[in-house]
């Protein structure tokens, strides 16, 4: 009898637990994402006049950069304090703006937010009242890579101050290339056909792929197109089916996949953890923020080097992928302080060298500020990359990136083109797959 009672207690307990779990799955469509979120609220009205609050999300990357800026600005204003509120991921900041914008109440926002470049246009279009432009500030706009500024400039008004740099690096394992009889120069300024030829040899000889990418959020088409100076958008409209360059590029991607040059992972964490950290690849091509991921494989220290991208006609290719900038929200009550802080530090003012040098040392954040990229810290060789001075090289490469048309629907398009590539690999004709993708993007762009 007693046994049964115990049993029933256990079962009831399990019931309650499961019904709670069942509820959470039924109620909120976004429950999974929200549950894991630790929303830290901020109230700017309670700050003293020398404090600014800011949202950022990566404690190994952009938060050290902000701390460096805080320290640099304290030289000018010793009482200054930066209240950095860590978010668990970049989309938390986007959700914060969406929520505040939908409610029409911006008082929940901090003074400054770090925001993803590709999303910014869309958020200015949707929530114009959430932002403050930087036209009346001392930021040295001419000192920055113009491609980077193109993301945060809307209708000829500057909104954001660049923090990091999205310039694409092609990193290769020189030891494996040597094994196959190549050097990194053989992969600099080459055509994609030559790249595929080398990749095939590398895979045959070492079993490693020369390139890998997340197959679902495939950044390759965008980066390869930008290296050609072409966009997936034209005059505000999606441009896939009549885009001959894109077709050529997609054919190359499919060919790479079929010839075991390219490995397409199922998702982002597979891409980083399995292919890069799991040591499956002899080459990595992505925004330079991928470097900390490459560095996690300690045993390959000194074996990597970086260079520019291949292109269709064999010129050196330059592109940019990802990155973020700092924006002042309309909730900021101390706009003069915020503008001065940004201009003095990240904006190329007196504190720029101290800010960017420390940001690089502590967080690996590379600048797009041209003059700041010439310091000793930037010109130092990096042991992991065979003592190559990769940072100054990246800043230099960043100045060559061509400005291409951006769109609010960048990520929608990226997803659809990625889906098209998957379908082509599975046997669909290129034209049909692209037609389908274009239809979907057009559909999403309709109001």
């Amino acid at each position: 009898m007693k046994k049964r009672k115990v049993m029933s207690v256990i079962l009831t307990g399990a019931m309650v637990a499961s019904s709670l779990a069942a509820c959470s799955s039924g109620d909120a469509k976004g429950s999974t994402k929200k549950d894991s979120k630790k929303v830290t609220k901020v109230d700017v009205t309670k700050e003293d006049k020398n404090t600014l609050s800011v949202y950022a999300w990566d404690k190994n990357f952009n938060i050290p950069a902000l701390k460096a800026a805080e320290k640099a600005y304290q030289k000018k204003n010793p009482k200054f304090k930066l209240n950095i509120i860590e978010q668990s991921q970049s989309s938390d900041v986007e959700t914060a703006i969406t929520t505040a914008g939908s409610a029409g109440d911006f008082t929940t926002l901090p003074d400054i937010v770090l925001f993803q470049d590709h999303y910014f246009q869309k958020y200015v279009t949707d929530y114009p009242k959430a932002w403050v432009d930087l036209e009346k500030s001392d930021v040295q706009w001419a000192d920055f890579g113009q491609e980077k500024l193109s993301y945060s400039t809307i209708k000829n008004k500057h909104y954001g101050v660049p923090v990091d740099n999205g310039t694409v690096v092609c990193a290769y394992r020189t030891d494996l290339l040597k094994e196959c009889g190549y050097t990194i120069d053989d992969l600099t300024g080459v055509t994609w056909d030559k790249f595929i030829e080398i990749g095939q040899k590398v895979h045959k000889k070492t079993g490693k792929y020369l390139l890998s990418m997340d197959g679902a959020g495939n950044d390759l088409p965008y980066m390869m197109l930008q290296a050609e100076g072409v966009s997936q958008f034209k005059d505000g409209k999606v441009n896939l089916t009549k885009n001959e360059t894109l077709k050529k590029i997609i054919d190359k991607i499919v060919e790479m996949k079929q010839k075991d040059v390219l490995y397409l992972a199922n998702d982002w964490s597979d891409y980083t953890d399995q292919t890069i950290i799991g040591d499956m690849v002899a080459g990595v091509m992505n925004g330079n923020w991928i470097i900390p991921t490459i560095k996690q494989v300690k045993k390959n220290e000194g074996k990597w080097e970086i260079t520019s991208m291949p292109t269709l006609n064999g010129e050196e290719g330059y592109a940019s992928n990802g990155g973020s900038s700092l924006y002042i929200t309309s909730n900021c009550r101390k706009q003069d302080l915020a503008k001065d802080f940004l201009a003095y530090t990240f904006g190329g003012g007196e504190g720029k060298q101290e800010t960017y040098d420390k940001a690089l040392e502590d967080g690996g954040v590379i600048t797009t500020c041209i003059s700041a990229g010439k310091s000793d810290v930037y010109n130092k060789g990096v042991k992991y990359f065979g003592d190559q001075a990769i940072y100054s090289k990246i800043v230099e490469m960043g100045t060559h990136v061509k400005v291409v048309e951006q769109s609010d629907f960048h990520y929608v398009c990226r997803e659809q083109v990625a889906a098209a590539i998957q379908n082509i690999i599975n046997g669909t004709k290129t034209d049909a797959a692209l037609k389908d993708a274009e239809k979907q993007v057009k559909f999403a762009m309709e109001k």
């Binding site: 989309s91 959700t95 969406t98 929530y127 197959g215 998702d267 990520y411 998957q422 109001k447």
Partner: protein
């Protein structure tokens, strides 16, 4: 309750003592009092449900007729634009198709498994049946996200299942289960069955416990074998429970979200995306914030659930 009504009650009660005629009045006030107490107890829950559930639902209905940025939504032209739009949205239609595929394949398999397990574990001669019951039920106590992640790592290209299948020679090389449309769907269905069978089994066990053991004994004496007893006694007597589990499973599957998000992210190439996942993508994914359209799709799911539940109830109605 106001003091005025209280005092009139008091006066009424006093006057009741006097005549026969007043007895009727007394009875009525007692019922009235009971009613009032009943409503008093109901009020807090009703108010909360109205504020927390019905009001947002009503707002969502209004939102579903609007369009534009969520800061400045305007009525869509024509008014039903969001509703007509979804039927020309290939991706939404695909998500509906996927969801129904999961529903049609997974729910029957799961419920049959559940009823068989319940039948086996209801057998009084089995030792440690409490332990087995708990084991079958345990998957239900795991979080949806964590179990999805565990399945993901099991079925990963370099995962355990692949290693085993390659070792014993069924596969030649590692197979990308979650990266191939067909097998990704199968993995989702397997995961769903693993997660929810025990949950439904508990309902059947409870139902079985309500069936008199003597009925089975009588059947045994009449010479019915296990199969016959199952079909002619267990199933008919469990009918109300079966209908309930059906409705719950249909409802749950139509709102399927976690598996699609965590196991496959809807991929490869959106071939495994579910309706709820697509709705989520339209409201919070990729910076789109298309709340009007997302609300309209939510109402479509709402109507689907209501219709399917109604059909289910009608089919299972035992009254003549």
């Amino acid at each position: 309750m106001s003091s005025k009504t209280l005092s009139t009650d008091f006066v009424e009660a006093k006057s009741m003592k006097k005549g026969k005629k007043n007895k009727k009045v007394k009875k009525r006030t007692v019922t009235a009092k009971q009613h009032r107490a009943g409503w008093t107890f109901l009020t807090p829950a009703t108010v909360f449900i109205t504020i927390m559930s019905f009001y947002p639902m009503f707002q969502a209905l209004i939102t579903s007729f609007k369009t534009g940025s969520s800061a400045d939504m305007v009525w869509s032209k024509p008014l039903f634009r969001n509703y007509t739009r979804m039927f020309s949205d290939d991706l939404f239609l695909r998500s509906v198709g996927n969801t129904f595929l999961y529903l049609i394949v997974e729910v029957p398999i799961m419920l049959i498994f559940a009823i068989l397990l319940a039948q086996i574990l209801n057998n009084r001669d089995i030792k440690f049946r409490g332990l087995f019951r708990t084991c079958v039920f345990l998957p239900c106590a795991t979080s949806l996200v964590s179990y999805a992640l565990i399945f993901k790592s099991l079925f990963a290209t370099q995962g355990l299942i692949n290693s085993i299948l390659v070792k014993i020679g069924i596969l030649h090389s590692n197979y990308n289960f979650l990266g191939t449309p067909g097998s990704a769907k199968v993995v989702i269905i397997i995961a769903l069955i693993w997660r929810w069978t025990g949950y439904n089994m508990v309902f059947y066990l409870a139902g079985l416990q309500n069936i008199e053991y003597s009925v089975y004994e009588a059947a045994k004496i009449d010479g019915a074998n296990g199969w016959k007893t199952f079909w002619h006694i267990t199933v008919p007597l469990l009918k109300p429970t079966i209908i309930m589990t059906f409705i719950m499973s249909i409802n749950g599957t139509l709102q399927l979200f976690d598996e699609s998000v965590n196991l496959t992210k809807g991929g490869p190439a959106n071939t495994t995306i579910t309706m709820s996942h697509y709705i989520y993508n339209n409201s919070f994914g990729q910076g789109v914030a298309n709340f009007g359209y997302a609300s309209a799709m939510s109402f479509f799911v709402f109507v689907l659930v209501a219709v399917l539940a109604a059909i289910n109830l009608k089919v299972g109605d035992t009254r003549d």
